[in-house]
């Protein structure tokens, strides 16, 4: 049997309307997510990478039922979702749960962390013994039972992230949408959270959509990688394809810019010039052309489509494989 697919996203689109003034009619919009397609296999991790404002979080928020897409389709466990239906956000929240960068912002400071983890169980009318389930969830994220009755401020950043994960697991999700889950953590704590996520995936077969700008973390946790730039996927494929047979100049620049702990090792250094353009007014043709060291006339004029380089490796660049 073919590998099971947990989620298929096709041509997903989100345009945020722009209003100048409170009562003005929308004037155009920001295309935050533009024809994004990918497939997430069961029990695997797909990473979304890219710089701030490229649309990664919007993709996750749509899949968490927190945001309505303006186009495209989502197939969840074999069923296409109808975004016109009121039921859809509910279905999404049942299968997909978000893990945020700053768990502190999502935990109620006046509730014990045990109550915060129990809350989703109450919401979904969990039939079993709720207290027992909370104890199991705390054990699953390696937190002792004695922690259950404490308040969020009594925990370290890494422990709070474990609580955030326990709360997400309380809904028995098939997919975790992790938005920069370790970015606020110190290196020594980051490792603990990454190991926990790997363990949970092996034990429960959960799939992860993992958003991060840290490429070493992405390499460590994912099987598939999608690179986004100004709302579009510019390169997608297995982590080996994207990291080791990199085809898009933007991916190359990202890899070159991410610091490595190997002193004295000289490496290809592509330093981009210019600032990230505003998504309000994306450049013509290839959106990357204003910063691309290889840009030619055609890049300013025509938008490159995603080409298949084989084995699921796709890249949107006029000169892919010719550089």
């Amino acid at each position: 049997m073919a590998e099971q697919v947990a989620l298929t996203v096709k041509d997903l689109e989100k345009v945020f309307p722009l209003r100048r003034g409170l009562f003005a009619r929308p004037q155009g919009g920001v295309r935050a997510v533009d024809k994004v397609s990918f497939q997430l296999k069961s029990g695997e991790t797909l990473a979304l990478v890219g710089e701030s404002g490229c649309g990664k979080t919007t993709v996750a928020r749509i899949l968490a039922g927190l945001e309505q897409p303006t186009g495209g389709t989502v197939v969840l466990s074999g069923k296409e979702l109808d975004f016109a239906s009121k039921e859809t956000p509910h279905i999404l929240r049942q299968t997909n749960q978000m893990v945020f960068q700053d768990p502190y912002a999502t935990l109620n400071p006046r509730m014990t962390v045990g109550q915060s983890v129990e809350e989703p169980l109450i919401v979904r009318r969990y039939a079993g013994d709720r207290k027992q389930r909370v104890r199991e969830l705390f054990a699953a994220v390696s937190l002792g039972e004695e922690m259950i009755d404490r308040y969020p401020h009594q925990f370290s950043g890494g422990q709070r992230q474990r609580i955030g994960i326990a709360r997400a697991l309380a809904s028995d999700p098939k997919i975790l949408l992790c938005d920069e889950p370790t970015s606020a953590l110190d290196v020594s704590v980051q490792g603990q959270v990454l190991n926990l996520l790997k363990d949970l995936q092996q034990e429960r077969g959960i799939s992860y959509l993992f958003i991060s700008h840290n490429l070493s973390v992405v390499w460590h946790i994912s099987q598939q990688v999608a690179v986004m730039y100004l709302g579009k996927i510019v390169e997608i494929g297995s982590r080996e394809a994207v990291f080791l047979e990199t085809a898009h100049p933007y991916t190359k620049a990202l890899l070159a810019a991410s610091p490595k702990v190997a002193p004295g090792q000289s490496r290809e250094r592509i330093v981009l010039s210019g600032e990230v353009p505003s998504p309000l007014n994306p450049p013509s043709g290839c959106r990357f052309h204003t910063r691309c060291p290889f840009a030619k006339d055609i890049c300013r004029e025509a938008e490159p489509s995603l080409q298949d380089l084989g084995a699921g490796h796709h890249v949107a660049c006029h000169f892919a494989g010719k550089m």
Binding site: S188, G191, A257
Partner: protein, 326 residues
């Protein structure tokens, strides 16, 4: 050669809580020194103490900060203030901590030039455009008229760097200068700092929690843990042959792309919340090598001209002949 700056046994308390102890390091003219450590390890407090910017209830309770051999901590506050901006300048993670939202870019850079370089208003206005150009800002004349909020994050960072450079400092302290920026912009800013450094010969202290940034941009590094310096060395020594169990643990716990790692190494436990009551090694309760002797105060054991670690066990690692107690 006399070091440009030498910090000796610096101690800082916030009210009654000790947050720095036994912090010592030095930096030579033109050198880049990285200070790495996890959140709360005392990197910023160290920098602020050097700059004379520590604010209450923070207070230096011991040690010396020698600038060209002269102890800054003994200077009257006014004289210390005069060194700031001119002899040494600091840039921050969040540029708005030193940019004034109600003044134009021109006014802010000109002020530094008039104050520290004795320029006239007209000279300063011209030089300000020069500095913006040097930090890679396109259309400098137009940008001079902007207010900080009209600029992108990367541009504000560049303006702050231009302001710091305008005083022609001998030492630039950069405290997490790129942490809030996207990685490709981070690379641009660091390249810019290196270029400017090559041109002006200034020394730089690069403070970061990112070990990779130190490996790539500094010649030497200092590792801080819980308010202490636990290791110093050249970047080669630190990253290929770390001596302190904490540095070793940190490096082992990093994911590295291109390598096969199933599970990551993790350092058990957490950083101690307070130093009081810990007479010995602050890392002892998390250290896999800890023994009884670790409860005694640890001194820096030196085993090369550049490398030293605050751990008696490093002696075993390198053999008797090569180490001597400082």
């Amino acid at each position: 050669m006399q070091p440009l700056l030498e910090v000796q046994d610096l101690e800082v308390c916030f009210a009654r809580r000790q947050v720095l102890r036994r912090v010592s390091f030095s930096i030579a003219p033109g050198e880049t020194l990285g200070i790495v450590g996890e959140s709360g390890s005392g990197k910023s407090v160290t920098a602020l103490s050097i700059m004379g910017l520590l604010s209450r209830p923070g207070r230096v309770t011991g040690g010396r900060v020698l600038w060209h051999g002269e102890d800054l901590l003994q200077l009257p506050p006014d004289s210390h203030r005069q060194l700031r901006g001119k002899a040494m300048a600091m840039i921050f993670q969040e540029p708005m901590t030193c940019l004034n939202p109600v003044y134009t870019v021109e006014k802010q850079i000109s002020e530094v030039l008039m104050l520290h370089r004795g320029m006239s208003k007209k000279e300063a206005a011209e030089a300000a455009a020069d500095y913006l150009e040097q930090v890679g800002i396109a259309e400098p004349m137009a940008r001079l008229r902007n207010y900080p909020h009209e600029l992108s994050g990367g541009m504000r960072q560049r303006v702050m760097i231009a302001m710091a450079l305008a005083g022609e400092p001998e030492l630039l302290i950069a405290d997490e200068p790129t942490t809030a920026l996207d990685v490709t912009v981070q690379a641009q800013i660091l390249d810019l700092l290196k270029q400017l450094q090559a041109k002006t010969g200034m020394a730089m202290i690069l403070i970061t929690h990112d070990l990779g940034l130190v490996a790539e941009n500094a010649e030497r590094g200092v590792v801080m843990y819980a308010g202490e310096v636990v290791e110093e060395g050249s970047v080669e020594e630190l990253f290929t042959n770390p001596a302190h169990p904490y540095t070793q643990g940190l490096l082992r716990s990093l994911p590295r792309w291109g390598e096969q790692q199933d599970m990551l190494y993790t350092i058990p436990g957490t950083v101690p919340r307070r130093l009081e009551g810990i007479a010995g090694c602050a890392f002892a309760e998390r250290c896999p090598l800890a023994e009884e002797r670790c409860a005694e105060p640890q001194s820096m054991h030196r085993f090369s001209a550049t490398q030293a670690a605050r751990c008696w066990r490093t002696k075993d690692k390198v053999g008797d002949a090569e180490w001597q107690s400082r």
